[in-house]
Symmetry: C2
């Protein structure tokens, strides 16, 4: 197969995989009574509190959009904003106790669903796919590093 056809296959596959992952977030979110975007936010926050600037970068959102998203989730009692101790401009967003439960459940269900997809792949393939995707992501970061 020519190199161009190989690459087109990857592009198509990546797009379809993206739709699949989005669907997983939508379905798991529905189960946990979260919108897909709320589910993504809570999953990220299971790693610990983080600033708005970092969150907006991770979620590819304008800060104003993130403000609204955090407002809605805060209103539900799932997250809380805490002042940064060193920089009074900054806030950290953290999960509340209830948010930790919801975030853990969401994170576990999403991972379980995505892992189930990979179950059919031989272990050697999985490792290679993961390594290749990580490599692809790293390459992208290098080309877009500020």
């Amino acid at each position: 197969m020519s190199e161009n056809a190989q690459e087109t296959r990857i592009a198509d596959a990546l797009i379809q995989v993206t739709r699949l992952v989005e669907r997983v977030f939508a379905e798991v979110g529905r189960h946990c009574e979260l919108t897909p975007q709320q589910a993504q936010l809570l999953c990220l926050l299971t790693d610990g509190p983080i600033g708005m600037t970092d969150l907006s970068r991770l979620l590819n959102l304008e800060k104003s959009s993130l403000t609204g998203l955090v407002d809605r989730v805060e209103r539900r009692g799932l997250v809380a904003r805490h002042r940064d101790t060193c920089d009074r401009r900054a806030w950290h967003v953290a999960l509340t106790e209830e948010g930790q439960r919801a975030g853990a459940e969401t994170h576990d269900l999403v991972n379980a669903r995505l892992e189930a997809l990979a179950e059919d792949l031989p272990a050697s393939d999985r490792d290679q796919v993961a390594a290749a995707l990580v490599h692809l992501l790293a390459a992208h970061r290098r080309t877009t590093a500020d």
Copy 2:
């Protein structure tokens, strides 16, 4: 590495790749003066006219959401609805001449961007990644076939 750690790596990688692909659609869409969702729609339509039911399935949207999306793009003169010849309930959505230009440009730019990500991978890896992703997608379709 344990099998579970392998699978978690795949889950994380798939999520990050999804964000990357979404970003590509957002950036290419901005360039083409389309919203990300409009860009996705036009890309799908470059394959030819399709019914609303099939489109909503491909885009993971409720039919009512698709009605609005198609309305907005139709209003811009990029698509047109055509009556199905066999089933008077059904409509097919097709690109207009202008829509074909926009759709082709969007499709080519998205593919170019995604292909550029894969350039760093050795050809043998690309082929294996594409094959593995296609396999993963096919397995998913088998488990969810109606």
